[in-house]
Symmetry: C2
Subunit: 248 residues, 2 copies
């Protein structure tokens, strides 16, 4: 698997699709100008590894388009996904030289990159960047903790329902639809990837998907295309507190 990088057309920050959500969201015009000079784009194909745990990382980046995953592995190969990088999410840690996780492109991915050292220097001088990064990191921490509850205490059916609810909600937000009604979306993950995320085997994922389908909670047009006839019904299956604040 060669590290093919298709260089995409240079994009102006002003027209950037993640301009208002990424680490640069709070930047003023002059700050943006400086970032504009520093940035460069890199692309990765679906399935490609962006970084291995322990790799030296000389850049940090924002996801512009596509989805990447963060995962960790035990000695004997058991792996657990520990994070999902969506457009506008930030990859890398200022001050850290090496990757702490395996980062893999799930779909084709375009990233807006900055060499680490210059970025760190700029961050020290630009509170707007550090402020936004703090906010994003706190959100990720909340999401990680929500995931800990799922991994530690939910059963297989609840785990699947939770994942579907999250993907459905994100998709609905993207399409600006109203809540409560019928939803449909494509799952960007294989059964195995779902299992790695949920701490399950792919067989259990498959069985629970079939069970939710049999019980009418979801309808499958194809293996990957899902319709949720009643979102509230799906939410009931997650086991969450019904009033709960939703963090994803």
């Amino acid at each position: 698997m060669p590290t093919t990088q298709i260089e995409p057309l240079q994009l102006e920050c002003a027209n950037c699709p993640i301009r208002h959500r990424a680490v640069c969201a709070r930047c003023e015009a002059d700050e943006l100008d400086r970032l504009e000079e520093m940035k460069f784009y890199r692309s990765f194909e679906a399935g490609q590894t962006i970084a291995w745990t322990g790799d030296r990382m000389d850049f940090v980046a924002s996801i512009v388009t596509g989805i990447a995953t963060l995962s960790q592995t035990l000695e004997d190969g058991r792996t657990q996904m520990v994070g999902l990088l969506l457009p506008s999410d930030f990859m890398g840690r200022p001050g850290r030289e090496t990757a702490a996780y395996d980062v893999t492109a799930t779909t084709d991915v375009v990233m807006c990159c900055f060499r680490r050292k210059p970025f760190e220097t700029m961050m020290a001088k630009t509170p707007h960047i550090a402020q936004r990064l703090l906010e994003m990191t706190l959100d990720e921490l909340d999401a990680a903790r929500e995931w800990m509850l799922l991994l530690g205490r939910k059963n297989a059916r609840e785990k699947i329902a939770s994942l579907l609810a999250i993907v459905a909600r994100r998709d609905a937000a993207l399409k600006m639809m109203q809540a409560g009604g019928s939803l449909e979306f494509d799952l960007p993950l294989t059964r195995e990837a779902m299992g790695d995320y949920l701490g399950l085997t792919l067989e259990t994922v498959s069985r629970q998907m079939s069970a939710l389908k049999r019980d009418g909670v979801i309808v499958l047009a194809t293996k990957r295309h899902i319709t949720v006839p009643d979102f509230d019904r799906l939410l009931e299956e997650t086991g969450d507190d019904t009033d709960g604040g939703l963090l994803f």
Copy 2:
């Protein structure tokens, strides 16, 4: 359980035991003076609830002494601990009005508190605080992700060994001992709390503790006082990559 608060003697920041590790670690003398004016101390007894999920929080705080836990609960009462607050750790989120987790004092706890609004104002003007908070939050995120791997993919024995290794290492660091040799320490958690942390029942925790004892990995003087004759042996039981970077 009344909310008893024993007001401890006012402590000067200069003599504060967490001065060099807390959110104020990077502050200059003048910044510290301003924090000194704003701060107030609160104490909680072991077992007391510091905040319930959804409670309005009008302060943020650093743990000065003691241990507190963050936990989340499903509808039917299943609970999962999602974080451990140790001395110097920060509680609360700037910009958030309500508690996102149940916070409970495991031991007697003393906290150094700041009213939220003035603290937010100060943070906006004092990059040193925001920088340090970002650093601490990134560390917590790493710890949370390490925990996700444990919850999703480790078996009961590995989970227990991992928890013991973490507590042992922290204790050794505190006592400035050299690694590799024999260690002993007190477990600050009940079997039930360990279970809540590890996503296990208290019975399973008890059984695995007995098993590790039977196999000579640990020696129990009392239920809570643990001796680790060979730390490397304990590490082997965690299932982690042996070279692994350790985040706690």
